[in-house]
């Protein structure tokens, strides 16, 4: 595989998080774009590539947005891949820039959260969900992930406390990240354990809160970023695999198992060299699977591994082994802004690696593994993606 050298990620913007909003997706996407351009000191017409993801564009799309925002990209991409969208956008945009098909690409995920819009999305997610999962009562992916979590607990002797360790550490991180919707509240393990039940082993703090928001970043050549005087980070490796392990009874692993080693080799790093791990955390169990499948611990060992690993951004926990995880609080504490959630971890990682944070800086962060997971179609999530990012001056 060709490497990703010479590509810069810059101008990270998280915009407009709100529990509910009457504004449409185009508002969140457009405002995010405007802030990205302002951050980079660029105009609309400097952007010649546009990658976008959203669940709530309705009849609009990447192409209608170009007229909506009155600009003329020569490369566009729409990525309806949920939690893997951001990394897939990053991969495609990097190749477009390397090939000369675009020079500056805006990658944006944005979604509104109108009254009852989550219900509409869940009810009409895909033909499989319409025919074979929504009629059984599970709201969105709760039922599928309840079943997965229950089986994971049975199989690997995991307990609710183990999942709680992830949620509680992420809330601590969110307490230091002002835009997090739940960042003003603390969360103790006792509160986590006594929350009301949602679906089997899943309780309130295992489930993300759907919300509105936008997340975006610019991609360009390193030369261009330097010329513009923009702080940036680079891509050491990236991969994706979809609908992997399709013969498994239930999802206890994802596509990462098939390319994690390739990513580490490409980056010339191992899990021990990583300062930040950002997993897609729509439920704690899938964060555990990413930790396992990406090589931070063995299959089924995440509950044990977490007992000795401090996931806080500042390493202030009692555990010996430190690994900053979901440094902004993840979706569990920030909120899940539809497809923007698939861009959130990339945006937060750019902030971390360029020192552009607001109180949740991981000290001395040089390398980050960012992982994406998306699209619970029927009984399992289909997309897997991961990338290793690095500080530009490492």
């Amino acid at each position: 595989m060709k490497d990703y050298s010479g590509i810069a990620l810059t101008a990270p913007i998280s915009f407009g998080y709100a529990k509910q909003s009457p504004k449409g997706a185009a508002w969140f996407i457009g405002r995010t774009l405007q802030l990205m351009l302002a951050r980079a000191g660029l105009g609309k017409d400097d952007v010649d590539g546009f990658a976008v993801s959203s669940f709530s564009l309705g009849t609009d799309s990447a192409i209608t947005l170009t007229q909506n925002f009155e600009f003329s990209p020569r490369w566009i991409e729409q990525l309806p891949y949920g939690g893997a969208s951001g990394i897939l956008a990053l991969r495609r945009a990097a190749r477009a820039i390397q090939a000369g098909d675009a020079s500056i690409v805006a990658c944006i995920g944005g979604d509104g959260a109108a009254h009852r819009s989550f219900e509409a999305t869940a009810a009409n997610f895909s033909s499989f969900t319409i025919d074979a999962s929504f009629p059984y009562g599970g709201g969105g992916p709760n039922a599928a992930f309840g079943l997965i979590t229950q089986r994971y607990m049975d199989e690997f002797d995991a307990r609710r406390e183990d999942f709680g360790a992830i949620a509680v550490a992420q809330r601590y991180n969110a307490n230091h990240y002002p835009p997090a919707l739940l960042g003003h509240k603390t969360l103790s393990l006792e509160q986590y354990l006594s929350a009301r039940p949602i679906a089997g082993p899943l309780h309130l703090f295992d489930c993300v809160m759907p919300c509105a928001g936008g997340e975006g970043f610019l991609m360009m050549s390193e030369d261009r970023a330097r010329a513009l005087g923009l702080p940036y980070c680079t891509i050491l490796a990236a991969g994706e695999l979809h609908n992997a392990h399709r013969e498994d009874d239930i999802q206890l692993r994802g596509g990462w198992t098939e390319y994690a080693n390739q990513l580490w080799a490409m980056a010339g790093l191992g899990p021990e060299d990583v300062d930040i791990l950002q997993t897609y955390d729509d439920y704690p169990v899938i964060s555990m699977m990413q930790m396992e499948d990406l090589g931070f611990c063995g299959k089924g060992e995440a509950p044990q591994w977490l007992k000795t690993t401090d996931l806080r951004f500042d390493g202030s926990g009692p555990q010996q082994h430190k690994l900053a995880h979901n440094t902004s609080g993840g979706q569990l504490s920030v909120g899940q802004a539809g497809a923007a959630a698939g861009y959130m971890s990339v945006v937060e990682t750019i902030r971390q690696l360029t020192g552009d944070t607001e109180g949740n800086q991981v000290p001395g962060a040089r390398h980050a593994m960012v992982s994406g997971f998306g699209m619970i179609n029927y009984d399992r999530g289909l997309c897997s993606a991961a990338t290793i990012l690095a500080r530009s001056d490492r």
Binding site: F128, P135, G137, L147, I148, D154, G200
Partner: protein, 189 residues
């Protein structure tokens, strides 16, 4: 039409929680409708490929294995093994919310002997189990279909030994789950 009547219609449409009768989700794709039609005469009918003999679920336009347009709805063996199970304590759908207000709603995923994974309503009483999670994974189960009160076929998982040979037996189980009656709200619209 009087103003109050129109208002009532609107409320009924936009505020499901105000409805007198809430029913399970009615919406299906045309393939889901075909699943319902095929399941009316038998305990369980799934798509079988007459080219490569693959069985599939959820219903698809083409055979998932050979991609041929050679699918037939055929009566299928109801046997399978439990993959996972849980009780829903929350739902986005008013019918389930009202059922859950009385008792959590059990569902299961099952690997049928014909190879497919199905999501089904679970009848824990047939296992003699009080709590759903007491039923271990890999327990032998049977999965049959029954028409719910939205007139769609839905799948129901029961213990492997439960008698489900006759229509009356299957109906009694579906009725016991409350699937044959809408969830009522006194004083609803």
């Amino acid at each position: 039409m009087s103003t109050s009547h129109t208002m009532k219609q609107r409320l009924k449409h936009n505020r499901p929680s105000l409805r007198q009768n809430a029913r399970p989700p009615k919406q299906r794709t045309h393939l889901g409708n075909a699943f319902t039609a095929a399941n009316l005469p038998v305990a369980l009918a799934l798509q079988h490929c007459s080219n490569c003999a693959t069985v599939q679920y959820p219903p698809r336009e083409l055979c998932r294995h050979c991609l041929q347009d050679t699918l037939l709805w055929r009566s299928t063996d109801t046997g399978g093994a439990l993959v996972s199970r849980l009780e829903l304590h929350n739902s986005l759908w008013e019918y389930f919310r009202r059922r859950i207000a009385t008792a959590p709603w059990p569902i299961a995923s099952v690997r049928l002997d014909c190879g497919v994974i199905v999501l089904a309503h679970l009848a824990p009483a047939t296992f003699g189990a009080g709590i759903t999670t007491e039923i271990p994974a890999a327990t032998r189960v049977q999965v049959f279909s029954h028409t719910d009160c939205s007139l769609n076929a839905v799948l129901i998982a029961v213990d492997g030994q439960t008698a489900i040979a006759t229509r009356a037996q299957r109906r009694a189980i579906a009725d016991g789950l409350g699937l044959l009656e809408p969830a009522h709200k006194t004083g609803g619209i």
